[in-house]
Every structure is written in structure tokens, then in C-alpha cells.
């Protein structure tokens, strides 16, 4: 299996998914997994003690082959450069690291192909039956491995270039790599019907080649005991959690807040997460006269997230486009009813949430106020939501992946 991230390293949504998925897959008989990932600076990897989890896997069935890289699925060339600079500035990336990195170059596309070159040398010594690759950054490497060793290729689509740009065009290099990967693949796994539709529409992929495997619930760790801030005693809390970028629709959260405060006085809106639109959003709340109603937190850790989710009365995910969207799982598992946009993949599988078009501010306001106002509604969604979430376990998606492996190896 080829992936670009694995907790705790660059642990975005896809990294968590790879972790949860592989954890269940190795429990299935006859499955022997090797996870190959590009490797970031040592300091970043080592500062998280959760690397123990990786060690545990190494001791079992998953072996890590680390290839240095700064790649992340959400990155464009520009953000890659920024990220690299940030690491250097913060002292997390030393000159020594930089030297190793020089082997791979600063250009993102170049790194993708360097990764492919590295993988090409690794696979000669490896025995495997299928190649399973997560998102475009690993596709050249996966195609290389598949063709070199004449093994079937599965590409797993978590997100595409189109989703990342919020519909505003797509990087032609990335598009070409994605398309080639999918065309050469024997099977494509899409994480939602929404992603599948995009693959058919934007990449001309034959729908019969695509299987949908939904994610399951993520482990967010135990509840943290902490004292709620003072404002919580008199106010209810509505939460936004995610990067502050167009794709996530933060501006709609502020628009809806403006409506809600006219109908429900004692409420505070909290936005956690950072991103290119953060300052713009802070300005927007001030312009709308909502500065007393809003709190911003910026970048948040796992522990922070758990605190905010526990404190919140309603979680809102107004994403303009969300291939899946794991965050509602985190909110629901901390007993917070969720309102999620219909433009998210996760809305295809959750029932006990409110679903709304991201632009439908009136409907969203109605749902928020109702959840704040009617305790019975809040309680029922909380309870039913948790019951539903607890049934979404990873053994099902893991089994689906293994079934695809079996089908492809039988064919050969």
C-alpha cells in the first residue's frame, strides 16, 4: 500500500483513514500489508509519541518503508513551498534535512516522480500481489510498482484536484497524474458517491470500474475532563471546525450566525482551525457587528478539538465541497448533534444529522435555532446519532478492500 501520510505524520483525513483501514485489514486472514510512504523530517515524526502505534504495526504485519518527502495530499505547489518554509523557520527542518530533501527537489511534481523512483528500487526486494495507492501523489510510484512487477493496481480516491480548487479549475499536472493513475488502475475505490460522480464527469472514467467504500468512525480518544469557560454557563455554543478556506464554506457559518442571533440571544459561535481565509473571516464578523458573538481559535490539536466538541451544542459543517468529511464523526462521538452540507460525501451515509445545502442559510438557521431551543430534539439527535455512529466500524470497509484484492488476484 502506498500513502503519503500516516498518523502522527501529516495526519489529515486521509492519513487517519489509512491508519484505521489498515488496522482492520491486517486482522483479516491472508492479508500481509506493507505501507510505503514518503518520509518527512525526523523531528516531526519523532515528536509524537503516537509513533508507538507505528512500531506496533511494524511488529505485526505492516512494515514501513520511509522515503523522505514533504508531500501532503492537500498541497498545491505553492502551499508545498510555504509549508517547507514554515518548517525551516520553526527550526523543525534542519539544514541536514534540507540536504536530504535536496535529493528530491523542491518542486512538488518532481518529488512525486522522485518518490516513484525510490519505490521502483524498493519493490524489487518485495513480494506482493496487489498495489493499492492513496491519492495522486503516490500514483506515479504505484504505476511504476504495478508495471514493474506485473501486479494489479488499485487506486483509492480520497479527493481530486477539482475538489481542492473548489471547482475553480484544476492544476493540469495533477489532473494528468490522476487521470493516468485511474486509467491504468484495475479498480478504483471512491470514498463516496460524490467522488465517484466527479471521476466519471471530470475524468471520463468508466463508472463500472469504480467501487464506493465509505469510511467508518474515527477514534477520537476518551473524553477530557475540563472546566467549561465562563460564557458557557449562560450561552449555548455553535461550532465550526476545519480549515478556513473557501472549500469549507466558513463565510456561510458567519452568515447563518447573523440570522440565528435574531431568534436566539444567548449563543456564542466558535470557529476553530486556521487557513488562508482566517483574517478575512475575523473581519467579516466585525463588519456584521457580530464580534461579541464570535470566538476564533486558530490551529487546533486533537485535545483542543475534543474540548470544543464536548462544549458545543451544535456542530456545523457548511462545506462547499467535501469528498467525505470526517469531522461530523468527531462531533457526534462527543455528543454534539451535527448539521452538514449536502455537498459532503458523509451526508450519503449519515441519517441522524441535519442535511442542508451549504448556501441555504435560512434552512440552516432554522435547524440551528431548533436544536438550541428544543431540548428533546437535541437529546434525540445526540442519542440516535451516537447509536448510528457506533455501528459504522472499520471491519466493513476493510473487508470490502480485501474482497477487491481477492477478485483482482483471482483474475490473473
Amino acid at each position: 500500500m502506498l500513502g503519503w501520510e500516516f498518523p502522527p505524520f501529516f495526519a489529515g483525513g486521509a492519513g487517519i483513514v489509512c491508519y484505521e483501514l489498515t488496522k482492520e485489514m491486517v486482522k483479516i486472514d491472508d492479508v500481509d500489508l506493507t505501507y510505503v510512504m514518503p518520509f518527512g523530517p525526523d523531528e516531526v515524526a519523532n515528536q509524537h509519541l503516537r509513533i508507538l502505534i507505528a512500531n506496533k504495526f511494524r511488529g505485526k504485519k505492516i512494515n514501513f518503508k520511509k522515503v523522505p518527502s514533504l508531500l501532503g495530499a492537500y498541497m498545491t505547489e505553492e502551499s508545498y513551498k510555504e509549508n517547507r518554509q514554515r518548517l525551516i523557520d520553526s527550526g523543525k527542518l534542519t539544514m541536514a534535512d534540507d540536504n536530504t530533501l535536496n535529493l528530491y527537489g523542491i518542486n512538488l511534481i518532481e518529488e512525486v516522480y522522485n518518490f516513484a523512483g525510490r519505490v521502483s528500487t524498493i519493490v524489487d526486494d518485495e513480494e506482493f500481489d496487489v498495489v493499492h495507492a492513496h491519492d495522486w501523489t503516490t500514483f506515479p510510484a504505484a504505476i511504476q510498482a504495478s508495471e514493474q512487477m506485473k501486479k494489479p493496481l488499485i487506486v483509492h480516491m480520497h479527493i481530486t484536484g477539482f475538489d481542492k480548487s473548489g471547482g475553480n479549475g484544476v492544476d493540469p499536472h495533477i489532473y494528468a497524474i490522476e487521470k493516468e493513475g485511474m486509467e491504468k488502475a484495475d479498480k478504483i475505490i471512491a470514498i463516496s458517491e460524490k467522488v465517484k460522480r466527479g471521476l466519471v464527469k471530470n475524468y471520463g472514467i468508466n463508472p463500472s470500474k469504480i467501487e464506493i467504500v465509505y469510511h467508518a468512525k474515527v477514534d477520537v480518544g476518551p473524553d477530557t475532563n475540563f472546566d467549561f469557560p465562563k460564557f458557557k454557563s449562560k450561552n449555548k455554543v455553535v461550532l465550526y471546525a476545519g480549515r478556513m478556506t473557501m472549500q469549507k464554506g466558513p463565510e456561510y457559518f458567519i452568515d447563518v450566525a447573523k440570522k440565528v442571533v435574531n431568534f436566539y440571544k444567548n449563543v456564542i459561535f466558535i470557529m476553530i482551525g486556521s487557513g488562508d481565509q482566517m483574517n478575512q473571516m475575523i473581519r467579516k464578523t466585525a463588519e456584521m457587528g457580530l464580534q461579541d458573538k464570535f470566538l476564533f481559535h486558530g490551529f487546533y490539536s486533537r485535545d483542543d478539538a475534543n474540548k470544543f466538541f464536548s462544549m458545543a451544542d451544535v456542530f456545523v459543517m457548511p462545506s462547499v465541497s467535501e469528498p467525505f468529511g470526517l469531522v461530523p464523526f468527531e462531533a457526534i462521538s462527543k455528543n454534539t448533534p451535527s448539521i452538514i452540507s449536502k455537498q459532503s460525501g458523509v451526508s450519503e451515509i449519515l441519517n441522524n444529522v441535519f442535511k442542508v445545502d451549504f448556501w441555504d442559510i435560512d434552512k440552516m438557521a432554522n435547524q440551528i435555532v431548533s436544536l438550541l431551543k428544543y431540548n428533546e430534539l437535541h437529546n434525540t439527535m445526540k442519542k440516535e446519532g451516537l447509536d448510528e455512529l457506533n455501528k459504522l466500524t472499520w471491519d466493513e470497509p476493510a473487508r470490502r478492500c480485501v474482497d477487491i484484492y481477492k477478485e483482482l488476484t483471482r483474475k490473473r
Partner: protein, 413 residues
Amino acid sequence: MVSMCFYFQVHQPYRIRKYSIFDIGKKKDYFEDRSETELDNEWIINKIKKKCYLPTNAILLELLNKHPEFKITFSFSGVFLEQLEEFAPEVLESFQELVATGRVEILSETYYHSLSFLFDKDEFREQVRLHGKLVKQLFGVEPTVFRNTELIYNNELANEAEAMGYKGIIAEGADHLLGWRSPNFLYRPVGAKKIKTLLKNYKLSDDVAFRFSNRGWKEWPLDSKKYVQWINSINGNGEVVNLFMDYETFGEHQWKDSGIFEFLRYMPGEFLKHPDNDFKTPSEVIDSYEVCGEYDACEFVSWTDLERDLSAWMGNELQDAATKRVYVLGKKVKLTGSGLLVHQWRKLLTSNHFYYMGTKHFGNGNLNPYESPYEAFIAYMNVLQDLEMEVSDILKERGFLVNGEIVNNKINL
């Protein structure tokens, strides 16, 4: 001798539109969705009119003309008849034409298809009275057999129906109450002296209502010959087969291309081929047969879900909050003396509203015109709040209400 007793429930609620917080205090159009989707009452009546009411009525009229022995029974909710008057008078006329043959019986029920027996007995009796009045006015007949909303039934209800003068009452033939006994006889409710209970044969009823077009069912396809054979086999160990179902079974739940209309068209003729067989209405069944034992329903039974209990309408927090709040409002609404407000309030008592708030089967394809039970709850509670505000304003103006309490004792409630 086997008598076939065919009875159809015909009901459509006044569905509440997606009434939002922004509408409270501003809009009164609670039931006037105009979206041409599953919440638009006029659109629904017209859709079902074409698919079910008109074609099925035509077949029944044809059968009544062809077979002098053929008889059927309807239970119309008042809110259904009201919607026909408003949206589809030609359907009402075709039902009137059927009743005019003299071989179509009409059952008594609550006007608003409500759960009022569970929450407010006075209101229950009033709704039954209003229903009787409407039936008399539209069809010129007086029902003598009672059927409660969704066949919700217990011993107390049966005794109440007896006290109200009914000679019969209809209930689900629930396995857990019948035990080894057959639903194909009449029973006496525990505690009652005269009234007789007719029990739905749920197996034979559901073969038509639920399984008819199910290709996975081992008896598919079901034709009238096979079905009549099953009924004939009862001869000797039963007197009456009570086939009770939603009228929308024909053409709406079971689609035209499933052959359901052909089944309805030929089954009665097939059944009458056997000289021992006949058709009877519930009141004729009661006049013809004696009870064979007691039917003891301490707990409520209904005809809904495998559980055959009340859990489709009650028991989750949403449903309980909504029912409690709406029934509490009753006193105040009646105190306003406004017939319009009382009527609006009563439309909110229709059981469907609480069914839509059910979480029991949510996600498993249960029928809900709202996106979720939660959306149903929001619309309902917002409407209720609007109505409460209007009622309070009127009562305050008249000095009947101070600090939310009713103060004028001269008004006899």
C-alpha cells in the same frame, strides 16, 4: 360458510409544510405547502386520485353492478373527506355513488384520525361525533361499527365504544392476544356485554397489501384463483375473513403494472364460485354470527409494524414532547371560541404527524415526506408555537389569561 369482509381505510392527513422559525408570528399557512412534492396536500390528493381513487372506485362500481352479492366497507377520516371536498370533488362523488348502491358500509372513527383516545377522552368523543355528522351529511348513513385510528385498540376502548352505542368494533388479530385461536371468528372484548370485535386476518390482508408485488415472495405472483383457494380452506374452521387494508394498496402502494387491479377485478367472482361463500359488511357479520370467546387486550394493540403496538407514534422524546404540548393547548384553544382555531389545532392531532417524528425505522426506507424525523419535529413545534401565541393573545385580550394561567372560572370547560 365463509364470509368475506372487505374493509378499506381511506385517510390522508393535512401534512404540515416546512414551517420555519422565521414564519412564527407571521404566517398562518401551516398546511399549505405548494411545492408539488410529498408535503403538498392538494398535489398528493390529485396524484393518488389518478393512481388509485378513481380507477379503484370504477372497478368497485363495476363489481357491485356485476355481482349483487358483492359488498365492501370504507373507513374515511374526516380530514380525508374534507380534502376531497376542497381538492377533488369528483372523487367524493364517486364514493357517494358507491355508497348509494346500499351495499357499501361506512365505519365510524375520529374525524381527525387522531390518538385522542390516549390523551383526551372528551376530545375523542367529540371527534367521533363530528365524524358521524360529516358522514351523515355527505353519505346519508349512520355508522354502527367503530374503528379507531390505525386499529389502535384495547379493552377500555372497546367498552367505551359499547357505551357510545356501537354494536361492533374492529381490531388487529394480534398473535400475542389470540394465541392458538383464529381471527376468523367474532370475539367479545373483556368487560363488555354486547359489543363484538372483528379481528383483522393480518396474514391474508398483508398478502395483498404488502406482498402482492414482491418478487422475492415465494407465492409471487399471486392471482385470484390461488388467493381464493387459501380463503376456501378456512371453510369449516372459521366464519369470517376480515381483510382490512389501506385503500391506497390499489395503484399507489402496489402499482398498476403489478396486476393489482386485475386481482381486484376477478377475485370476487372467483370467490363467489363456491356456493358456501358470501360477502358481508361488518354490521352484517355482527348480526349473523355469535362470539366464540373473549379477546383480552389489556395493553394497546395496533395494526402497525411487527410490534403491533404504539411505538410508531409514541415513545421517543420528540413524539412525547409534541403530543404533550399539543394536547395541553386544547383547553385554551377551545376557550377562544374560534371554530377556525379549534379546527387548526385538531388538524395537528392527526396521528401521522407523530409517525413522521419516529426514529424507529429511520434510514430503513420508512415512509416519511420529511427528510428526517427531526425536520418533521421542527415544522410541527414551530406551527404549534405560532398557534399558542395566537391563542394566548386572544385570551389575554379578553382577560381570560393572566401570567399564562386561565383565570375566568365562569367559562365551563
